[in-house]
Each structure stands twice: as structure tokens, then as C-alpha cells.
Symmetry: C2
Subunit: 485 residues, 2 copies
């Protein structure tokens, strides 16, 4: 057995001891010397073992005392509140989000020390070497990949691979039903253009990600923001009420799994009800499932599309957040709008370039994809916990947050209706980029929220950044109190 | 000097002799034996020399007699007619081209022997090896290219390279003004969405390429088809008249260089007048310059954008037809719509993937790009001539065509108002794919035209295909006459 495998096997052994409680929080790990004797391994292997468990967050090193099982801070998280029931829904309105978003993006373009605004994991959480080697091999083996005009119809290998993977989410689709797009954002554009036009009303979750609001704004459509639970997703009662109140809704867009920014996951019964409701009201349901594969369960979540029997659900997804953030490979199943969306895609950007598609197709077909997802989910799970603990420890009282069961973001409610724009600006001064809540609604309802990334390795630098952010919020709260006094 | 260089140097020598008339059409080349003695070269070099000049179209081999300087057929080409002046312009209408186009594309998806429908050159006319090696080197050297989220703002190297290259076309633009898109087609979409909306009227050339008509259809815009000369491009008089007649035109779209399908090139004075007219009428001018680099002159053509002093011209182009048909790298200079188009691009497909951009950027920065373009233009020039000669020789009397001064297509008018759909179907039966004229207008005005590719090597197979096509047209003409009799 080589050293590589050996220390990992030992790590498994101690991880089991920690998880079973045999080694409790705060307990001392056997010393490096003792590990060497116990397992008859070299100094280097014993050290590798401890460092590995340390970077995974299970141990912490204390100067001159050795390694200890990390003490989960067990701070009490106060979850973000459910939307108050019976709150009247704002009238549908044209979206005017772009100016905010581009101002924030422009400000955030300066170099920062810690970027908590992104919605992907650290690059090394993705299979860089494998993807790169695949790309090089494909470039070597496929003649004229860059110089031959792209054949009509799109890449068959990728469509096959995606149709097969869709089965995991309870979707049975023929490869020919797959339309490959430039990211999920193009899929959403095409879906909306297929079913609605400028001036039409689209029901969306509230809060929702600014990408969707920008699409609505760019298409001249109106957003009707439906209250959404941080735990179970869009309120179906509120949506039903909205449908009774407004007769000009043309589509419903939801992110059922790890909603952005809430992190909510719709229970299966809700998804099923939602599909039935939209069908019954003759309203197309657009499902954005960009994050489904990151749900931290043994079984992948079932897509709403699973319950679609009439082609009324347009399923949109992407490999961008789960496999290769540097690639823009999205895809969709357009149900009964297939022919129209196929046409719109062709007229908008033609068929995608081949190389990225072939890379993704080959990776999806291998068992490396499942291994990658398992590893990614496990790492993210730990990072979410540590980030949440740090926030709970450093942010002032009154802060509320939930740790979602998957994904790369945490949605944090700040006390005292603090303005996320002020926090954004003060944090940026210190080289910390956050994503302010005011980007997640056409209203100002979520201005006192932040979406914080938890897809990066929990380093001292990150810990420091979260502490600084906590101090910034604390001092803004105090300023506010002094001003009010 | 290695063999490779030697035979090419000798080829230059004989090419000079042919071009100067020292070796006239029909003259016998010195025999291989004589070439060996004259230049003290091996048999293999002498043969390479002759074969090289043969594939370039300067020599032809006659069985048992050796190589002869090819006799240009000097058939009389009857040019496609100018649009009759004073013809009334059809009222602006919603475009209904997609069904035709997709039916034609679907039919053409079966395997064919000779594809005369495409609008690019043969893959080996593009620098495959260099592009592939570049891609592999970039993949190796740029860490996390596929796994790191794309930084906002788009790739700076490519913007720099494109801004520098734009100088060749008389355009002075800052790198930050460049917006990189997925092909020219996305640029056209964005330009039209920025300046017009569903129901608006867009003035276009007639005939024009179906890609543009599909974009208009997908955006719900109306096309106003302006008569266009096969030699000098859009009729500025007709456009001016149209502007006086219709008050709801929202933009003008032109392809000033190697218009698709006509191959026309607007004289500089026309471009200048057009820019001034649009400016004066407050109508944005959208310039599609996808083919400019293929104009067969020593100096690159000057873009209409050159005469734009107020930001009223939106310049759109692509590397797709001129450098790498397998890549979807387009770009635009959006003039005074920059901010809006930047927003639309971000909301539609985000920033482009990095790899293709880096490959193109590095290639554009090297002298290899100029060498490639020179070689491409020279090869295409010969292929156009040979294709035109074959058409003139094989197609029935009454056929009209012009050989454009650049590009990959020839626009052919068939006699007797023959239906291009019938020709398309009969040719497909014989494994020959052509692009029927009915795709190039919302009307049926160009139904008796074909657009034929001349970007492939002139092989026996191609010669045979053109002969078969001539026979098909001939027999359809005869059928028509018999039916009429």
C-alpha cells in the first residue's frame, strides 16, 4: 500500500472514531509519535494523517500541545423567518434591477482579498486535472474540431449523456429532447421568450437570484414576487392566490432545489402540487435545477419535471455550478415548446462549440462524475457548517441564518434592518466582497440580508474575513443606535 | 534548403512564368525529367512541384503527355441583373422564414456526397494545427481555466487584440468598447434587441441571409426588404425612399463586404452616404462585417463604422468564417448602445468561455494571422474561378452569375424562373446539397436562385457534382417547357 493510500485509510479510521463519539470534541488525538508506533508508519505519514483531518475540519492544532478534535461551536442558529402568511403580494412590476446589479458588479471588480459574493466553490473542488486532460485528449484525437463548421443538431454524445443522467432526477427524456445552451441563463432566456413576451407577468420566488430578475428586465417582462419559505420553497398557497388575483401571469419560474439565495428545498409533495396547479391553470412551469446535484442526500432530489405528464414543465439546468465553473454548458428539456425553443436557440447563438460539450459528455459518462459529486457534497457540507459557525460566533445578536442542506451559499439576515449596501461598501473597503440582499428582489424587502459564499476552504484568512465582517455589521448597528438615540 | 521549401520555391518560379505569360495557357510544362536536370532536384521534388501547381489549379495533367498550363475556360459569365430601378418595395412584413429554413435544414441532415450549401471554406483552409497546439498549450499553462468561474468583464487579451485588428478596417476603438459574443449571430440579436422591439420594422438588404431573417422572426420584428445590387450592395436611393414612405423603421442592417448571398461590395462612397443618411434620419445602422477579411484586395476594406462620428453604427463581426469555423467567437462595437448591449449580453449568455477567446487572441496577435488570411484569400480566389467556370460550362443557357471579389459563395440565377426548391430536392436525391434561393427573402422573389459554396478544393468529385447539378437544372427546364407546350 503506498503512503498516499495509507494515510487516507488511517484518516477514515479516526474519522469513524470521531463520528461515533469514541473521540469526543476537545479530546486530544494520539500524538504523532504515538501514531507512528501504533500503526507502524513513518513520521511523514502520521503528519499527513493529522493535517488531512485538520484541513477537513475535524482536528485543530494547538501550539505545543498537538492535535485536538475540533469543538463544534454549537452556537444557536436562529433560522431566517418564514414569510408572514397573509402578507399582501406586491403588484407585478417591471424589473429595474440592472442598474443596482451592474453598480455592485462594477464596484466589486477591484481586486479583493476574500470574495464571499460568488456562487461557486473553490476551483480545486472541481476535477481540474481530469477535465484538462480530457480536453487535451479530445483536441488531439478529433480532427478539425476547431476548424470545421459545427454540424446542425448539436452534439449527440452530450445529449445522450444528459438524457441518461436525467434519469437520476426521475426524468425520462429522449436524447433528442435535450437542447444544449450557453449556461442555464441562456436556457431561462429561451424558456421565457418561448412562453411570454414583453409586458407579460412572470411569477417568481421572493427573494430570487438577480440573474433571473435581469433576464426579466432585459426582456421587458414584469415580475410578480411570490413569498418563499427558506425551508420549503415557494408558497403554493400564495401562488394560487396570485393566480386568482391576476389574469395576466404567463409563466412560473422556480428553483426547487437549493433555491438561490435561500437554499430552500421543496418537499416532493410541494413539487407535485405545483406541477398540477400550473397544469390546471395552463401556466408553463419553468424549473431551474442548477443546484440539484449539490443537495446533500444519498439520493438525488426528484425534479418537478418528474411529475409532468403533458410537457408543461420546461426543465433548465447547467454543469456550471456542479462540474466546471469555467465552462458554459447548460441544457434544457423544453416539453411542448421544444420546436419553438430549438428555433430560438438556433436564431440566438447557433449550436454550442464542440469542445466543451465533448469534455462534459465524456466526464458525465464516467464513474468519475459520481465520485466527484460525492466528494464535492461532503466538502461543501463541512465548509457550510464552519462558515455558519463563524457567522454565528462573530455576527452581532439578532443575526439569523439557516444552513441549507447543500450548495455553496448561506443567506444571512442582519439585525436592525441594516442596509446591505452599506455593509457591502464597508466590507469592500477592507477587501471583502459580499453579495448584498438588495440584489435579490425588485423591492427593498431583502435589503438587510447578505448572501455569503461557503464554497471556499475554511482558512484562517476566511475566518478573519468573517470576523471582520461581523465587526463591520456590529459597528454599523451601533452607529444606527447612536443616531437614533 | 529542405525539400519542402525547395519545391515551393520552384513553384513560385513557374507561377511567375505563368502569370507573366511566359508560359501560356495550354503550354506544356517542362517534363519531370527535364525539371530534374534543369534545377538539379530529385524526382520526388520535381513531382511535388507539378502536383502542387496542379492542386492549385495552374496545371492539368494529361494522360501520357505530362503537365500543361491549364486553359481557363473563359466562358462568358452573364452577371446577375441589377434590381430594376423604380420597382415598388414590398410593404414591411413579419418574417415567416423559419419553417422553410428548418425544413431545408432537416432535409439536408442526411449524409450527402457534396455539400454546396455551407458558407465556410474546407476545414484545411484554416490553420488547424496551429489553433489546436495553441489550445493545448493554453490548457496546460493556465491553471483552473475550466474550473474557475469566468471573471466579470470578459477576456481582456481578446478585446485588446480585436481593437488592434479593427484599425485595419479604419476603426479606432478602445479595447473596453469590444463586446465578445457567441458568433456574429448573437451580436446581431443583441444589436436588434437594443434598438428595436417586437412589431418594429427593420430595413434589410434583399436578398439577405436567412440567419438575419430568422433573428427578425424570432424577435417578432418586421422586415422591409430593400433592393440590393449584386455589385454595389444596398440601393441607397431605395432606402431613402423607404425612409420617406415608412415612419416606423427602427434600424437598418447591412453586410457591406461580400454580402451574403450576393457577394456585393459597397463602394466607400456608398458606405459613407449610408452612414450619413442613417445618422441624419436617427436610425441606427447595424453593420455585419463577417466576411470583410475575405475581400480579395491588398488593402482590407474600410468598415462603414469608420465614417461613424456619433456612435450610431453598431459594428458586428466574427472569427467564424475567417479563422476558425469550429469556434463561436463573435464580437461587436456597440457605439452609443454599449451599456445597454453589455447588459443584454450579460443577461442572455454571460461572458464567453475563456479557452476559445484565448486561442483566438493569441492567434490574432501573431503574424500567422496575416499569413493565414493571405493564403486563404488566394486559395479561395482560385476556387471561386474554377467553380464559376464549371457552372458556366455545365449549367443551361440563361444561367446568370457573378464571381464576387472574395468569399466562399456564388449566387446563381437559374433560367426560366426555375424553383430552387425543386432543384434542391432533385440534387439531394443525388447526394448534392445546395442552398435554395427561397431562403434569402421573406418573399418568393429569389426562388429561382441558388447559393453555391466555392470554399472547397476543386476536386473531380466537385466537378462531377456541378456537372450533375447542371444536368438536373437542364432537365427541369426541359420538363417545364414540355409541360407548357
Amino acid at each position: 500500500m503506498d503512503t498516499q493510500t495509507l494515510y487516507k485509510r488511517l484518516a477514515q479510521h479516526y474519522l469513524h472514531a470521531i463520528k461515533s463519539g469514541a473521540l469526543g470534541a476537545g479530546d486530544r488525538m494520539p500524538s504523532v509519535r504515538k501514531l507512528m508506533a501504533l500503526h507502524e508508519v513513518s513520521l511523514s505519514t502520521a503528519l499527513q494523517l493529522c493535517r488531512h483531518l485538520e484541513t477537513q475540519g475535524w482536528l485543530e492544532a494547538r501550539p505545543r500541545s498537538g492535535y485536538f478534535v475540533r469543538h463544534p461551536k454549537r452556537v444557536q442558529l436562529v433560522p431566517v423567518a418564514e414569510p408572514a402568511s397573509g402578507t399582501p403580494i406586491d403588484p407585478a412590476q417591471y424589473v429595474g434591477i440592472h442598474e443596482r446589479v451592474s453598480a455592485i458588479i462594477a464596484q466589486g471588480q477591484r481586486p479583493v482579498k476574500v470574495n464571499l459574493a460568488r456562487a461557486t466553490g473553490a476551483p480545486d473542488l472541481y476535477p481540474e486535472t481530469e477535465l484538462r486532460n480530457l480536453a487535451i485528449r479530445i483536441l488531439r484525437n478529433k480532427p478539425n474540431l476547431l476548424t470545421k463548421a459545427i454540424a446542425p443538431g448539436g452534439n449527440k454524445e452530450l445529449k445522450n449523456a444528459l438524457a441518461k443522467r436525467a434519469l437520476d432526477y426521475g426524468i425520462s427524456a429522449a436524447p433528442d429532447e435535450v437542447i444544449v445552451t450557453y449556461g442555464c441563463i441562456e436556457a431561462l432566456n429561451l424558456a421565457l421568450r418561448a412562453v411570454a413576451q414583453a409586458g407579460d407577468v412572470i411569477a417568481v420566488e421572493s427573494p430570487t437570484f438577480y440573474g433571473l430578475l435581469q433576464v426579466l428586465e432585459s426582456l421587458g417582462m414584469k415580475a410578480l414576487e411570490i413569498p418563499t419559505s427558506p425551508h420549503t420553497g415557494i408558497s403554493i398557497e400564495a401562488l394560487e392566490l396570485a393566480m386568482q388575483t391576476y389574469d395576466n401571469i404567463k409563466a412560473v419560474v422556480v428553483v426547487p432545489h437549493l433555491q438561490n439565495p435561500l437554499g430552500s428545498i421543496m418537499p416532493d409533495a410541494h413539487k407535485q402540487r405545483l406541477v398540477a396547479l400550473c397544469e390546471q391553470q395552463h401556466l408553463p412551469l419553468i424549473e431551474d435545477d442548477s443546484y440539484g446535484a449539490l443537495v446533500n442526500d444519498d439520493l438525488p432530489p426528484t425534479a418537478a419535471k418528474h411529475w409532468d405528464t403533458t410537457g408543461n414543465v420546461i426543465y433548465c439546468a447547467s454543469l456550471h455550478k456542479i462540474l466546471a465553473p469555467g465552462l458554459r454548458v447548460g441544457w434544457m428539456l423544453a416539453g411542448r415548446w421544444h420546436a419553438r425553443i430549438n428555433m430560438l436557440k438556433y436564431a440566438q447563438t447557433r449550436y454550442n462549440e464542440e469542445l466543451s460539450q465533448l469534455v462534459v459528455a465524456e466526464f458525465l459518462q464516467s464513474s468519475a462524475y459520481d465520485r466527484h459529486l460525492r466528494r464535492l457534497r461532503a466538502t461543501l457540507s463541512l465548509q457550510r457548517e464552519r462558515t455558519a459557525e463563524a457567522i454565528a460566533a462573530y455576527f452581532p445578536p439578532g443575526t439569523r441564518l439557516s444552513v441549507p442542506n447543500g450548495g455553496v451559499s448561506i443567506w444571512v439576515e442582519m439585525p436592525n434592518q441594516l442596509s446591505s449596501k452599506e455593509v457591502f461598501e464597508a466590507a469592500l473597503e477592507q477587501g471583502i466582497l459580499v453579495s448584498p440582499g438588495l440584489l435579490y428582489s425588485n423591492s427593498n424587502r431583502f435589503n438587510h440580508f447578505l448572501r455569503l459564499n461557503c464554497g471556499m476552504h475554511f482558512t484562517t484568512e476566511l475566518d478573519d474575513a468573517l470576523r471582520s465582517l461581523g465587526n463591520i455589521i456590529q459597528s454599523l448597528v451601533q452607529q444606527q443606535r447612536s443616531a437614533a438615540a
